[in-house]
């Protein structure tokens, strides 16, 4: 799949760019105040991997982020580091630095050789810390930052009589500062708009990199920033194109859809092994991977209509998933293979994949309500109120109920007025997926009674899951929700009233581009709105002010 990404013709991107040039112009954005966002766990891991390579291994868990306005990413800007969280960062930094400077890795990562391994060597230390510091901070270290790091390395090397111990100490120090742990929107005066601020070239590079790669800028992007190439549309265009051709672009796509589809829920997903013996730990892991592989293949590699994700018959299967689907696994040795469901098959699109069905169910049974709510809230960006605290589930949970199917039980449950309002907007959708049990396996009956998978979406009836999939495909909210969420994700904030015109522009472009997520990402990554900042009343944010103080010393 990565190879496929590389092969994707640059002409596709060029065509998208031409459309941008010829189509409606991007409206003026009002921007947002500069901000600082904590690296997510995935961003941290990708960044370390890109800088130090795959030989560095480490465990640990970060302080969790909450889901705000439909995205985890939006909580990163509000998140702060707790004492316990900082302990984790401290331990990680020490472990990563020690491994990077171990005899096995130092020759690869440290270009220079010290004059003696048991004594300080400031020249070599400075060369190394200059290079690695730029990658970690996503900008060159200031003179003060660099001299402090070199001095620390010198002191420790002298005391321990080990040059690399000194580097280990300084390196771990760099990884424990907010300048590494937070993406900081550094600004500078905008020469084009006197009196206004704009992101510094390095801040632009960082924003671009974490959107497209979910990782830190590489050397080429930082070099482009240093030369001012990101200030021009052409320069930005070239870098965006390059980055979207890179295998790392898959990480960016995965990160967005993991957040958008709330796949973090897989971390706590459990199924009753007595009821669903085939849904084991591996099936749990693979279900999420199947969904992400399908999405990456569809939107990034083959650049197809986003809406077709809900009707596509193509998927990827591993042995544990093949058992649940009751289809042959192409690679019984544990590998993945593509699979195309027949047109007559009840499965169509990602809503009928195991991931969506299992994660939006109870541990021991399916749930039309949870599935309906997930479709409304996640895919259509429509808010469903939480149930009242005193809701009576007794009729629904009664094992001796004469109502054999979920549809019949929910009908009884809906007789309570307090429940009816919400269930009317969730259940008729979720019932369309009742031919799939709580682990995502196909079924035709429940408690011996034939399941009726018909339902309706906003008054439009459908016969079964395939009919529901087609309605989601055709629903205008499906595409507008994606645009809204991707825009929010890119900017790290929920859209404001001022964003209305820009959002309308991206929505119209999305339709004009054949609902290509790849082109939409490209448009956002190269848009003015993505980089625009507006000053706070004081001209800078507190974070910016604190950090710019240090820079001014350089």
């Amino acid at each position: 799949m990565r190879a496929g990404l590389l092969k994707l013709s640059s002409s596709v991107i060029a065509a998208a760019f031409l459309l941008t040039a010829c189509g409606p112009k991007e409206p003026q954005s009002s921007g947002a105040p500069p901000d600082m966002r904590r690296l997510t766990e995935e961003q941290y891991r990708n960044t370390i991997l890109d800088i130090f390579g795959p030989t560095i291994t480490y465990g640990g868990r970060f302080d969790p982020l909450a889901r705000v306005d439909g995205l985890i990413q939006l909580d990163a800007r509000a998140a702060r580091v707790t004492p316990a969280g900082f302990e984790q960062y401290y331990a990680l930094a020490r472990s990563i630095a020690a491994q990077a400077m171990s005899p096995a890795n130092r020759a690869t990562l440290v270009a220079c050789k010290p004059t003696a391994v048991d004594a300080p060597d400031d020249a070599c230390a400075q060369a190394f810390l200059t290079e690695v510091g730029r990658l970690l901070y996503r900008r060159p270290l200031t003179a003060t930052e660099l001299s402090l790091s070199v001095k620390a390395a010198h002191d420790v090397a002298a005391e321990r009589r080990d040059f690399y111990e000194g580097l280990t100490y300084s390196l771990s120090g760099l990884m424990m500062t907010p300048k590494f742990l937070f993406v900081i929107d550094m600004t500078e005066p905008d020469p084009v708009r006197p009196g206004q601020q704009r992101l510094t070239p390095y801040a632009r590079a960082t924003r671009l990199s974490y959107l497209l790669w979910n990782s830190a800028p590489d050397t080429m992007l930082l070099d482009a920033a240093a030369k001012g190439a990101l200030d021009s549309a052409d320069g930005l265009e070239k870098q965006a194109e390059r980055m979207m051709e890179s295998p790392k672009f898959e990480n960016g796509v995965r990160a967005f859809f993991t957040d958008f589809l709330d796949l973090q829920k897989f971390e706590t997903l459990e199924k009753d092994q007595v009821i669903y013996p085939t849904f084991n730990v591996k099936a749990n892991e693979d279900a999420k991977e199947e969904l992400l592989r399908t999405i990456v293949d569809h939107v990034a590699v083959r650049d197809l209509d986003y809406r077709d994700l809900f009707t596509t018959r193509r998927t990827f299967v591993s042995p544990p998933l093949a058992r649940i689907y009751k289809v042959p696994a192409g690679r019984p040795d544990g590998g993945w293979s593509t699979y195309e469901f027949a047109k007559t098959d009840p499965r169509a699109g990602i809503l009928t994949q195991i991931a969506f069905l299992a994660v939006n169910s109870h541990p021991g049974r399916s749930s039309p309500t949870i599935r309906g709510r997930a479709i409304r809230e996640t895919l259509l960006c429509q808010k469903v109120p939480d149930p009242p605290g005193d809701v009576d589930f007794s009729k629904f949970n009664d094992n001796n109920s004469p109502d054999k199917t979920a549809k019949a039980r929910l009908t009884s449950h809906r007789t309570a007025d307090a429940c009816a309002g919400c269930h009317k907007i969730t259940d008729p959708i979720g019932l369309g997926l009742e031919n799939f049990d709580g682990a995502g396996a196909l079924r035709s009956t429940e408690n011996g009674e034939t399941i009726d998978p018909s339902g309706d979406l906003d008054g439009k009836p459908f016969k079964d899951a395939a009919g529901l999939a087609q309605q989601i495909h055709d629903n205008p909210a499906t595409s507008s929700c994606l645009v809204n969420r991707l825009y929010s994700y890119a900017l790290g904030r929920a859209p404001q009233r001022d964003d209305k015109d820009v959002l309308a522009y991206f929505q119209s472009s999305f339709a004009g581009d054949g609902y290509s997520v790849r082109k939409l990402l490209h448009r956002i990554a190269t848009s003015k709105a993505f980089y625009d900042v507006r000053p706070t009343s004081a001209g800078t944010t507190p974070a910016n002010a604190a950090l710019s103080h240090e820079e001014s010393k350089s």
Binding site: R323, V327, R443, S444
Partner: protein, 373 residues
Amino acid sequence: MNTRLAATAGALAFLAALSLRPSMAAEQSGTLTFVVRDWFTAMYESRFMDECPEGLNVGNDEYWWRGLSKKDRARLTEDGLVQTLNRHNLAVARGPKGEDVCLIPTLVKDPPLRVVEGKLAYGENLDGTTDGHATAKTCKHTKFTTPDGKAGIDNQLYRLVGCTYGWRKGGLVDLNANEMRGTSGLGMILIEITGVDNPRNDDDVTVTFYRSIDQFALDSAGTPLPFSTYRIETVDGKPRYADSVKGKIVNGVLETGRGDVRLPFYGNYNFINPVIKDLGLKLEIAEDGRTATGMVTGYYDVESFMHYVSGLGVAIVISYFSCNAMYEAAQKLADGYPDPKTGACTMLSSAFKINAFAAFALHPEKQSRQAAR
């Protein structure tokens, strides 16, 4: 219906139809595949062991023990500290020069094997006669009746081992073999039914037996997970085992005609691949298609059987039989396929009960495509 290439692609649509629209499945062509989990010699055991009026057989260990002086017993067993299992190597070395009497069962002469004398057994009428008289393909033998009253049953393998503890309930010969198959990936038998228009009723299907090179995929309780995929073993790009018989499905029960089928078999550290002559399979497929149980009948050759028995290792000791007595009885009881030169029959009519789980067979051409992906 012809359709070796059917295999996997059609299986999907077919199984989907099976699960969701059983009544409409007849419209689609497809394949059903099962992987054999358990393979038991079909044993009829009455409550009071009436079928073995002289009791069960005496074991090799006991013959060895009886042949020793008190002094030698004390010496060889370290005054009884070396128990049955651990003295296996000593116990089978009863040949004149200390040879293994299970590897060369004619070196000693033990008392005759106690064989089944009862009237009831599981199996089928293989020779087509009602009284077991000799035919061109069989030797004279005594018929059984099934417990539910079907007469004319041939099952000389049961007659041979039916009074030996190792094959009876609690015995370890088949249990060990099934356990080893479950954890080793050896002796994996795939049964593929192709040309299936309707999984519950189809008057013309083809049943092919393959060997898989994959182990069972098990759930947390150690039970095979249905609908797992197994690669077919190949040689030079073609399946190593691929014998077929024709059959039909009536109300979910597959019944095949008869044909010679080579099967892979592994158990008790022995791998054999006997050709079961005139093999027939009766397989009852569960309504949900996830499991199947059934019976394999046919003629099992004495040579393969004795090769397996002589290699049982410590299981010989705890199965309680004499290899010499077993070998001689097997020659006498053989009822099928006479040797053209001697006229003595070389095969034993037999019946085996099997348990199987729904599966997918990955054919060679599909394997290479996936590997290249």
